[in-house]
Symmetry: C2
Subunit: 334 residues, 2 copies
């Protein structure tokens, strides 16, 4: 029964055996991404990767979590602080202190006494979204071009008239959380008058106390459940986990209110957090993402919204934006 | 920093200390549910609870997962099979064989050789949704009344003019996956010509091979990630985990394709699965859910879509249906 839920998997990129008589199966989203030309993949600069090394597991195996930081123009103030905290090795010896099921894993200084580095910015709530008109318009134009690319693809497929193809108008533009949403610069983005990054599975954000505090960046969390979109514009999104999230999502849930661990013994020690460019070259993780401005991504997004690979009998005809995760893959170190 | 993400928690039902001078804080969704009158809570019959007891944890602590089965008229064929499998104690000695991050935990017979009980139904794909007109219309009317209740509440709050209240028209009716969606009989439901149950976090479904196989019910999975709505109408939803999901969601992820465990040693043994009514009375879990037809649920749903409790500075003005989990709570055994 190993085929159970086969093509339903975002991760799956298996090729089913095809009898000579059958047409080739329609590729899954994973297969479409895997087949994208090298030119559609964009390398992520090591200076934009935050590398968190946890204590090794029970068998002594290393546990590394890699986080891609948000690109400009989003969340710059907090990301500047995060770079300073990493450069100061501030997180070394801190711990994961909270794991709340279907919500977040949170890390930082459990003692709440560790002094912060000098010179961290106090970031205002206005930074939760960007309102700089030229930047907003530039990104909205990119989002629009990418949406048009997907919709044109859907029309082409409808015209092609394959009986296995069922593609009603894409409904990914439908979002209960925003007037506008789509992909730009490799990230899901929402907006109305301004634009803001979205809390999807794996998103990394900045913990805070009650408003007007927006958090320094020293307390971070990663989403390990259904996208908590109600946090959008209420907390700063600063990145996303692109590798090793299973080291966070499979941790025991905390038993205190909000999933905080009750005892020191339950906390997961953080050996170190570094910007990848500070690591020895051989130890720098290398990743690339599928350009959201590419035709390959348009095909991938359409396939996520209209699954036609063999497992599926009824394509959804749409997808919420967090069900179209931007493909990211490791590349062999050069 | 224990307030971090405080009111953002679906689970939180803490009361913040209030200085004499301040107005009472606006309650969180959890607080609204906790304050609902007893008459708004509906007891779940033990005959509708599936109780899965896993092997105890490393410290010998029991690990129990409780699943509420879908009410009529949804998924009856598979649920009939599940009742037969539980009555036959068929799952005893089977195991959890697959844990795929941000997707599903799956259990059943890893050997794929265990004979099934006599008399299981072969359920057709048409059962993925209900199309019986009287039943569909009855449920749609209930969904509509519940939506009207929420929208009327939003209008009242807008009229009340509290400066802390910000309630644009509810956008929960917006769904990329269906023309129609809402709550009925305590469950989230979607539809267009027919109606079908929704894959939200914690949903339990029936694993299958490629169509036209729809699965017997012997292989089950639970959603442990972002709602995989693309599975709606492609696999049967038969229930939801209402207690103990952390025993599934925190399991180590499988390293084989699709998150299957590679070795027997990795699999999590299932001691037993029973319909609760078959257990000794003292061992029968007792749960109740907040009636989705109650004013309390309308207030809760509005609060989930428009967070105004102290942590939040900007209510979303909407929510996707899987971000409005129906409150379920244990009750002391009678």
């Amino acid at each position: 029964m190993k085929h159970l839920l086969l093509a339903a998997s975002a991760a799956a990129s298996l090729i089913l055996p095809v009898a000579a008589s059958e047409p080739a199966p329609i590729p899954s989203p994973g297969e479409i991404a895997a087949a994208a030309p090298a030119s559609d993949w964009i390398a992520i600069a090591p200076s934009d990767l935050l590398v968190m090394d946890l204590a090794p597991d029970a068998k002594g195996k290393p546990r590394r979590v890699v986080i891609q930081l948000m690109p400009a123009p989003f969340s710059r103030g907090w990301i500047g602080n995060i770079r300073k905290l990493a450069a100061a090795h501030w997180w070394d010896g801190t711990s994961i202190n909270r794991v709340q099921d279907n919500y977040v894993v949170q890390w930082g200084d459990a003692t709440e006494k560790k002094p912060l580095p000098i010179g961290l910015a106090t970031v205002p709530e206005s930074e939760y979204q960007i309102e700089d008109r030229p930047a907003v318009m530039r990104i909205i134009e990119t989002m629009h071009r990418n949406k048009v690319r997907i919709e044109e693809l859907v029309r082409q497929q409808r015209r092609s008239g394959s009986p296995r193809i069922y593609a009603p108008e894409m409904r990914t533009k439908v979002d209960p959380y925003a007037d506008l949403q789509g992909f730009a610069q490799g990230w899901p983005v929402a907006g109305s008058t301004g634009l803001w990054p979205i809390h999807c599975y794996g998103a990394v954000g900045v913990g805070r106390n009650l408003s007007p505090d927006t958090g320094s960046g020293a307390e971070l969390y990663a989403v390990i459940g259904h996208a908590p979109r109600h946090l959008d514009r209420n907390i700063a999104v600063v990145g996303r986990v692109i590798s090793g999230i299973e080291h966070l999502s499979s941790l025991p849930r905390g038993t205190e209110a909000l999933g905080f661990y009750k005892t020191e013994a339950e906390r997961m020690p953080i050996a170190s957090i570094r910007i990848a460019s500070e690591l020895p070259a051989a130890d720098q993780p290398q990743f690339e993402y599928l350009s959201t401005e590419s035709d390959s991504f348009a095909r991938y997004a359409d396939a996520r919204a209209n699954r036609r690979d063999p497992f599926f009998i009824r394509p959804a005809g749409g997808a919420d934006i967090c069900n179209i995760p931007v493909p990211v893959r490791p590349v062999a170190a050069k």
